[in-house]
């Protein structure tokens, strides 16, 4: 008797499994096609650093605290500024935390890939440029019944 009941339960369970899968046939996918649809990260996202040249005193705390030692202090005229090598940076942002002067900030720019390693070395002037404004942003939102999906950002 038991194997028949077992077989019947197995059939029911597998039907439950298939129906659970089929129900999601018409849900929208999560995936975003990157360059066209861009993921909207929030203000505090730890992306590329932004250097305020006027506040930086060249004290070197960022180079001292950097776990990957990817910051070197370079001289510009008679002042000193950090220069970042993004080939080694792990974006832990201890530098922005420990900078005593508000001179380093997080930006939401995360696409900083380059073709050559030399271009990954960001000089202070390049760090000082604010990130470019990018549109076609998508926000990950959850609405109870319909489920989670990526919806275009309302530009809040």
């Amino acid at each position: 008797m038991a194997p028949i009941v077992g077989k019947f339960k197995a059939a029911v369970n597998s039907w439950v499994a298939y129906s659970a899968g089929l129900r999601h046939l018409f849900h929208k996918p999560y995936t975003l096609r990157f360059p066209e649809q861009r993921y909207a990260v929030e203000a505090g996202f730890r992306g590329r650093h932004l250097l305020h040249l006027d506040r930086c005193t060249g004290c070197g705390i960022c180079a001292w605290i950097c776990p990957e030692k990817c910051i070197t202090i370079v001289q510009r005229g008679d002042r000193w500024f950090p220069q970042y090598f993004y080939g080694r940076c792990c974006f832990c942002h201890f530098c922005t935390d420990y900078c005593p002067e508000f001179a380093l900030e997080e930006t939401v720019e995360y696409d900083i890939a380059e073709y050559t390693r030399e271009l990954l070395v960001w000089s202070p002037e390049r760090l000082a440029k604010p990130p470019a404004k990018k549109d076609n942003k998508y926000v990950f939102s959850v609405n109870g019944s319909r489920g989670a999906s990526q919806v275009p950002e309302q530009g809040h």
């Binding site: 197995a10 369970n13 597998s14 439950v16 499994a17 129906s19 659970a20 899968g21 999560y30 990260v41 929030e42 505090g44 996202f45 730890r46 605290i65 950097c66 776990p67 990957e68 792990c90 974006f91 832990c92 942002h93 201890f94 935390d97 997080e106 990950f140 959850v142 109870g144 489920g147 989670a148």
Partner: protein, 369 residues
């Protein structure tokens, strides 16, 4: 359906080298002795992703070591970070403020869910169940998004520092988190319908890869592997740290000791953690989130341990007063479950090897350090 008993010794057996390849999460090799289809013995050969983190820690000061100690298991970064920070604070005698403790528990529980979800998706793809590969990885985005607004990073947060946490809660975090955890619990029920009740899985997991209670204790296994053999051992309850003393939650165990019960322990813990997140957000006290702590490891020694997603992650740290520890012995959950793998794979059919092996949630990167 009990697994076949291993054949008598001396029978003609074939040794098979499974690996070294990216076995779901880092390279590792299994030298498996087969008698026909049944695994007679399995000997893990770890070490392909060994980076010598214990040596690196001795050369860097304690703040610069934080990203290093998170690398063994980046999807469970904040629990490992918590073990490191707890060891330093015990030596320094610094006590983070209450709000900092609660935020630590919040990020730990979110990390536990993300780690279990990643485990579940690899579990699905090991059994060829690609829907089970897509869904958990997709739903992980719920919590990655929350962690990104809280700490600024998606996966490796380096959010805990000696003395507290680095940032306070952003505005509107609590409502969003409560909405997402409720939605997530509905998704967990769907996982059970499509995967855990599915006979395709249960027939390959129930009764497979038995780890008896005595062997689990003797081998020193920990985390869901231990709790899957019916032992209610959870550091958050036995040795309450951070704010776990003030939170009430249940430790989930399953008596079976087979792959199925280990898997279901993961599922129960995910529900428990999402309920814990809501509870933490309710009881969150006000006040500063960080206390000033020196970048110094005072003289002395301590053995601090934390319940990470894969089990107890511990630091035996010896300080001698400088800003670097004299010795930091780093034992992670997977390293302790390494001894259970041969035990679990004995007598299992080769086709069922992935289910019983991956139910231990063995993470080669975390074991090799």
């Amino acid at each position: 359906m009990q697994a076949m008993s291993p054949t008598e010794p001396g029978a003609q057996t074939m040794t098979l080298s499974v690996g070294p390849q990216h076995s779901g999460s880092g390279h590792m090799r299994l030298i498996v002795e087969l008698d026909g289809d049944i695994i007679v013995s399995a000997m893990p050969d770890p070490g392909y992703v060994h980076r010598g983190i214990e040596k690196i820690i001795e050369l860097r000061n304690i703040i610069r070591s934080i990203p290093v100690i998170e690398r063994p298991s980046i999807i469970d970064a904040s629990n490992l970070n918590h073990a490191w920070v707890k060891a330093i604070e015990e030596l320094q005698g610094v006590e983070p403020p209450a709000r900092g403790q609660y935020l630590r528990c919040l990020i730990n529980e979110m990390n536990r869910i993300m780690s279990h979800l990643y485990w579940l998706s690899i579990y699905g793809v090991f059994l060829g169940h690609t829907t089970m590969f897509m869904w958990p990885l997709g739903d992980r985005e719920l919590f990655i998004d929350l962690a990104e607004s809280l700490t600024g990073a998606r996966i490796t947060y380096s959010y805990l520092v000696p003395g507290g946490v680095r940032r306070d809660l952003p505005k509107g975090f609590a409502e969003e988190a409560i909405k997402r955890t409720k939605y997530f619990e509905k998704r967990l029920d769907e996982y059970e319908n499509i995967f855990f009740k599915n006979p395709l899985f249960t027939s390959r997991a129930k009764g497979i890869g038995i780890l008896t209670r005595e062997r689990a204790i003797a081998l020193g296994s920990t985390g869901p592997t231990l709790r899957g053999s019916g032992i209610d051992r959870d550091l958050r309850k036995d040795e309450p740290y951070a704010a776990y003393g003030e939170l009430d939650f249940k430790v989930h165990t399953r008596p079976g000791g087979d792959s199925y019960s280990r898997a279901m322990v993961h599922m129960d813990e995910m529900r428990e953690s999402s309920q814990l997140i809501r509870q933490i957000l309710e009881k969150l006290p006000s006040g500063p989130v960080r206390r000033k702590a020196p970048i110094v490891v005072p003289r002395g020694e301590t053995y601090a341990r934390v319940e990470s997603a894969r089990g107890e992650c511990s630091f035996y740290m010896i300080g001698e007063g400088g800003d670097k520890p004299y010795r930091a012995r780093y034992i992670t959950g997977s390293y302790r479950n390494l001894a259970a793998i041969p035990e679990v794979l004995k007598g299992v059919r080769l086709a069922d090897m992935p289910t019983s092996w991956w139910s231990i949630d063995y993470w080669p990167v975390e074991a090799d350090r």
